[in-house]
Amino acid sequence: MSDEPATTRIFIMGKAYDVPAGVTIMDAMEYAGYRFVRGAGCRSGFCGACGTVYRKEGDYRLEFALACQEMVEDGIHLTQLPFTPAPREDYVLEDLDPTENVLLQHYPELARCVACNTCTKACPQDLEVMDYIQAALRGDLARVVELSFDCIQCGLCAMRCPADIKHYHMAQMARRLYGVSASPAPGHLAERLQEMEAGRYEDELDALVAASTEELKARYAERDIEKSSEESA
């Protein structure tokens, strides 16, 4: 790393700027004097606000990334995408029937998928986007959940799709439907709720709320710490 140049020449919407090497696209643009209103959110790779397209010098392809995570390179041409216009379908979760292909009913354009894999190439989370679209076509909810779980909903897939599929909105619906139909809460949660309803812990909580700091300190010091038993995975 030490033999890298101290500065990198980047092009923001066509204008050249020299920025420090080894910084993210977002930091480089701020260094150059840009102040974000759109195109910056959590700045840690979780919110999907800073989807960016860029092209490297001498390369014919467009590349896709999150500006807060991707480092600048010499000769990179870039900009921020402020907004993805991708309509989503409203639904009432309780009314969805998981045995029917409700995904296709709500998003019929899924059937237009030409399996070009452009969505997968655009995904900054490295998800197998096209594969979950194919799973959705088959009505395989579990597979959609598995493949789409890490989606941050930046919208780059939908922006690139030649079939105008709204991948991330469809997958959101699939995950919620799977949650309510195929991933029930463990029984002890309902039992705890019944206990709470019956006021099982009220006296104990009354006593704790009324307790002096000295009493609380003594009880805290006496707590038994549950052993981390090895979970199966």
Binding site: M1, S2, G22, T24, D27, E30, A32, G33, Y34, R35, V37, R38, A40, G41, C42, R43, S44, G45, F46, C47, A65, E70, M71, E73, D90, Y91, V92, L93, D126, F149, D150, Q153, Q172, M173, R175, R176, Y178, G179, V180, P184, A185, P186, L189, A190, E191, L193, M196, Y201, L205, V209, L216, K217, R219, Y220, R223, I225, E226, S228, E231, A233
Partner: protein, 554 residues
């Protein structure tokens, strides 16, 4: 993506690599012997006083004016609380309301979204609710919460046990009624999430529940290390299904109060055009989050771009006292290397799955799951009190988080499966944390204190409710892992319900900014310099050399 297919060069410089070899040499022994013992209460106190940034008294000052005058808090917070408004009060009062709703929710994160959903459930029609937020709906700290959410739902656990953990973690400074509400509502919140289709990690139909720093029972529910993102995207999806209106890039710059001092809505500013919008509301919920982007004591932060304490500023001018603002949560493990992602979060889940902090010689020096303030202080001591830190080429010091231990304990592939976000974050920079340890140092993470609320989420201003990170008292002087996602749900819900009830029974008079005029007068008599204005809205990370040559800055 970059990097794929390339021949991998070592992402660590030679000196760091040599230290990693010492970490590898001690790993088997550390795995065999188990973690360092937890500290006693006396040891914790001594460590905090000597090394935690909160205990440096010269980094704080007493507020000169306002409802909490005399309270000590960081200079950076005092600078925004003791600041002049952006608006001329007279100019806005000529404006008629542009929008009128029953419940106005300020903020766009977890607490705001939950408040809107429960205001609706209380019978307020969707069209009578407005969520107004600075950035996009979901550009917030909630979405970045990785590790999990606490709820005492297993038979071996109980809300009273959770309560004791919360109080001990907060050094017994918590508001008892707020802490009680937090632990009592937790199982019900998880149940609500299940009904919304939120996917918590389960194995064989049971929750995969783990410890967090300072917990005595395993009650951390997670969704891989995307827990906050899974929560936020589902809650937001439900708001969209219900067609609750959301105004994005519309940030509150002032609250409106009527002549009786009752909350009457807010003035919003369109971030792109700077046009003002006056919203008249029967009840207002403040869910604007915390202050990470104030960079207290110069620390980098895990927080989102808009975390500039605006809600705190507006409420304080309106007469709402603040509490516990002297305490700041530094997350023990922020990224220390590479510099490009300095200060970003390395989730506590890495430690609850077995990764241990070790020094440059590969020796463990602290129990991995102390409460956050204690763990952070121990890492600072190791780097600056004991010379056990590892230096990076950019001059930052940190300690190793021995992440390969996770796969050693739970089996190969565990990191990629349960800590997918963490694996990806470092892998983007060529570091595979299932093979090499990661360098970490504390980073500014959470506003422990905030505006004072009661257990319903009510503030000192009638008709103004608050919940989530903007509010204080729940966690006292130190929050435990997994209690912030819980907090924004519990108190977002309570504030939303209370606001709906208030809105159905009260009609405020005409909104005014006379409280702002009064506050301005006290700023003047306290001799606060005119140039200091707030809310900050967004931090400015442009280079000074560029700013100095702009038309405005030159």
């Amino acid at each position: 993506m970059s990097g794929t297919g390339d021949v991998r060069v070592d992402p660590y410089p030679a000196e760091m690599r040599a230290s990693i070899e010492r970490v590898e040499a001690t790993r088997a022994g550390r795995l065999r012997d188990g973690p360092t013992a937890a500290m006693s209460a006396v040891e914790r106190d001594e460590l905090l006083k000597a090394f935690h940034p909160d205990y440096k008294e010269d980094k704080k000052r007493a507020l000169a004016i306002g409802p909490s005058a005399g309270q000590l808090l960081p200079h950076e917070v005092a600078e925004v609380l003791e600041a002049y408004p952006l608006l001329e009060p007279e100019a806005v009062e000529r404006l008629e309301p542009d929008i009128e709703v029953q419940v106005l929710v300020l903020g766009g994160g977890g607490a705001a979204t939950v408040a809107a959903l429960f205001a609706h459930e209380q019978g307020v029609p969707a069209s009578e609710i407005l969520i107004a937020t600075k950035l996009r709906h979901g550009d917030c700290n909630t979405i970045m919460a990785q590790g999990g959410i606490q709820a005492a739902d297993r038979p071996a656990d109980s809300p009273p046990i959770h309560y004791l953990d919360v109080l001990g973690g907060g050094h017994y400074t918590n508001d008892a009624e707020l802490a009680r509400a937090l632990v009592s509502d937790a199982p019900m919140i998880i149940d609500w999430h299940e009904r919304l289709g939120i996917l918590y990690d389960k194995v064989g139909g049971e929750y995969l529940e783990a410890h967090g720093g300072g917990t005595s029972r395993m009650r951390m529910h997670s969704a891989k290390d995307y827990t906050g993102m899974e929560l936020m995207r589902v809650l937001r999806d439900e708001v969209r299904n219900l067609a609750i209106p959301v105004l994005e890039f519309a940030t509150a710059v002032e609250l409106l109060l009527d002549e009786e001092g009752q909350a009457a809505g807010a003035v919003l500013m369109n971030l792109e055009t700077e046009e003002m919008t006056v919203v008249r509301a029967h009840a207002t919920v403040l869910a604007t989050g915390g202050f990470g982007r104030l960079h207290i004591q110069g620390y980098p932060t895990t927080n989102h771009y808009g975390a500039t304490a605006d809600g705190l500023v507006l409420a304080y001018r309106a007469g709402v006292p603040v509490i516990d603002m002297d305490s700041v949560q530094y997350h023990p493990t922020g990224v220390a290397y590479p510099a490009a992602i300095l200060g970003q979060l390395a989730t506590e889940k890495l430690r609850n799955q077995g990764a241990e902090p070790v020094n440059r010689d590969g020796n463990a020096f602290v129990y991995p799951l102390e409460p956050r303030d204690v763990e952070a202080a121990a890492i600072i001591r190791e780097c600056y009190g004991r010379d056990g830190g590892v230096s990076t080429p950019s001059g930052v010091r940190g300690v190793w988080l021995d992440t390969p231990m996770i796969d050693e304990i739970h089996g190969k592939g565990t990191i990629k499966r349960r800590l997918a976000a963490m694996w990806m974050m470092w892998n983007r920079h060529g570091i595979d944390i299932s093979v090499d340890p990661a360098l970490v140092f504390p980073t500014l993470h959470y506003q422990n204190g905030g505006v004072e609320i009661d257990a319903r989420g009510a503030t000192a201003v009638p008709g103004l409710f608050a919940g989530g990170e903007v509010a204080g008292g729940v966690h006292g002087k130190n929050r435990l892992m997994g209690n912030s996602l819980l907090d924004c749900n519990v108190f977002g819900r309570r504030a939303g319900i209370a606001a709906a009830q208030w809105a159905q029974e009260h009609r405020p008079g005409k909104g005014t900014l006379s409280h702002v005029a009064r506050y301005t007068a006290s700023l003047e008599s306290a001799g606060i310099p005119r140039a200091r204005t707030a809310p900050m809205i967004l931090p400015d990370y442009r280079r000074e050399a560029v700013l100095a040559r702009t038309l405005r800055g030159g």
